[in-house]
Amino acid sequence: MVRFPRSEGFTTADLGFAHEVEARSGEKVAACYQCAKCTAGCPLAPEMDIAPNQVMRCVQLGLRDAALGASSIWLCTTCTTCTTRCPRDIDLARVMDTLRAMALDSGAQPAEPQTPLFYRIFLGLVRRRGRQNELPLMAAYGIRTRNPFKDLLLGQKMFLKGKLSPIGPKVRDVEQVRRIFEHAEAHRRSRAKGEAKARE
């Protein structure tokens, strides 16, 4: 059963949404014929509010809020089992990537806010230093989710095994890494402009 977030009366379909997803992902979502092979093999399907094949259906039907508001897009681990098995050759994992990016661009609260928060902290560290370091990553995530003690015992064990280091490595040409971030942001801005124009 697909549960739609907007339950009062009928949900309006946004047919431009399907085109937007197809253009951004480069995947032909319209080709999906609902065999649900993706869902059968999805390791996270039991925890998702709507199954992967239903996410594809929502895109086809232009149900923007249902697709972008689904917990499914944040529970997807990009294991790519669906992508490997789709008989219609749709790279579902890539479509999920696109839906995540669109959900964040929309500014609405995501269904699993801790996941994009983790990604943002992760990328913030990469932007500043060029490399990741698990200790500040976990510490920052723990503080931001107001649950710093969740994995403290585990962290201690890992620290004692020499698996965590407080001294972070740094890329020498961190300026070049910063330019990669700016390059991606410029892309995003020009795309947003184009999409706004298309909607007018």
């Binding site: 480069g26 390791p43 996270l44 925890e47 529970l75 681990t77 990009t78 294991c79 790519t80 089992t81 992508t83 490997t84 790279d91 994992a93 990537d97 995540r100 990016a101 964040l104 699993e112 801790q114 996941t115 994009p116 983790f118 990604y119 943002r120 992760f122 990328l123 990469v126 060029g130 490399r131 990741q132 370091n133 698990e134 200790l135 976990m138 995530y141 969740k150 994995d151 585990l154 064990k157 890992m158 095994k161 020499g162 698996k163 965590l164 280091s165 490595p169 890329v171 020498r172 040409d173 070049q176 890494v177 330019r179 990669i180 971030f181 700016e182 390059h183 991606a184 892309h187 995003r188």
Partner: protein, 296 residues
């Protein structure tokens, strides 16, 4: 053979033993690893979940640097890094993405990317692994666990069978081990859900480990730091969920090869796991005949 080396962030921290054992084993096999100078994080899952351009840019810079430094092939032992680097090479090659000024996208696209299984199987070869295995690990029954990104999606990984890979079993077999027959070698470990949705990841880890145990495995062999971390650090929670004792050391395939090559466990970082892996040395070197007789 000279091979560019992209360790990735994990191999410098949580997966130090993967770095140590990869370097030692490759050296023994005659693969000369040259670390890419000034490499950066590949962006892992976080970048591609937010922006494809960022994902290609972060991974692509490493390939551009490799090309600049005269390295036309790169070994990326971390399965996630391997996937991201290969994705970037493809996207840059097809022209669907580019790199900021100062980085040569065309040169980056031309760099060949190998995962560790590919390097062991196709660059070193089973024959050389057999030759180097002076202390065969005949007493071990590892469950070969591939996880997702070593073979999937097939268009990116271009390695082994995406539904029933056997390269890891072949490599372990050449080192004398008797890999377990099991059916969870490709199931996802949960990746970063271990942090953001811990119960979901624990469910997946429990499923994988209980099947490894049921198949008679005495350890799980991996080739991905994310898989190793999840199966190792979430094992206690998985055991509690199953009300079952698991006690399965989660070791990198290179650590097991190192043991077979007669390298000291300390040099391989075998003592750095949460579930003790050093005790594997007590059963690893049982003569093959004896191991087979004991029901291997």
């Amino acid at each position: 053979m000279r091979l560019g080396y992209y360790p990735g962030c994990s191999l410098h921290a949580t997966a130090k033993e993967f770095d140590l054992s990869t370097r030692t084993v490759c050296d023994a096999l005659g693969l000369e690893l040259v670390e890419i100078e000034d490499w950066n994080c590949c962006g892992a899952t976080a970048a591609h979940a937010i922006s494809d351009e960022l994902a290609v840019g972060l991974a692509g810079r490493n390939l551009a640097l490799a090309a600049q430094q005269g390295l036309d092939s790169v070994l990326a032992p971390c399965a996630a890094c391997f996937g991201r680097l290969k994705h970037a090479a493809k996207a840059l090659g097809s022209g669907e993405a580019d790199l900021p000024a100062g980085l040569d996208a065309r040169a980056a696209a031309g760099v060949r990317v190998h995962n560790i299984l590919d390097a062991l199987l196709n660059l070193a070869g089973l024959e050389r692994i057999r030759e180097k295995s002076v202390t065969p690990i005949a007493g071990l029954h590892p469950a070969a666990y591939y996880g997702c990104l070593l073979v999937r999606p097939p268009e990116i990984a271009e390695f082994d069978d995406p539904e029933n890979p056997t390269s890891m079993e072949q490599i372990l077999g050449a080192a004398g081990a008797q890999p377990a027959e099991w059916y969870h070698k490709l199931e996802c470990c949960g990746a970063s859900l271990a942090v953001t949705n811990t119960p979901s990841a624990v469910r997946l880890v429990a499923d994988i480990l209980s099947h490894a145990k049921a198949a008679g495995a005495d350890c799980v062999a991996v080739a991905c730091p994310m898989c190793q971390t999840n199966l190792d650090t979430r094992q206690a929670a998985a055991a509690a969920r199953l009300s079952e004792e698991l006690d399965l050391p989660i070791v990198y395939i290179t650590e097991l090869l190192g043991l077979a090559f007669g390298i000291a466990p300390r040099k391989l970082g075998l003592g750095r796991h949460i579930v003790d892996a050093t005790r594997l040395t007590q059963i690893a070197f049982t003569p093959a005949a004896e191991a087979a007789a004991s029901g291997g």
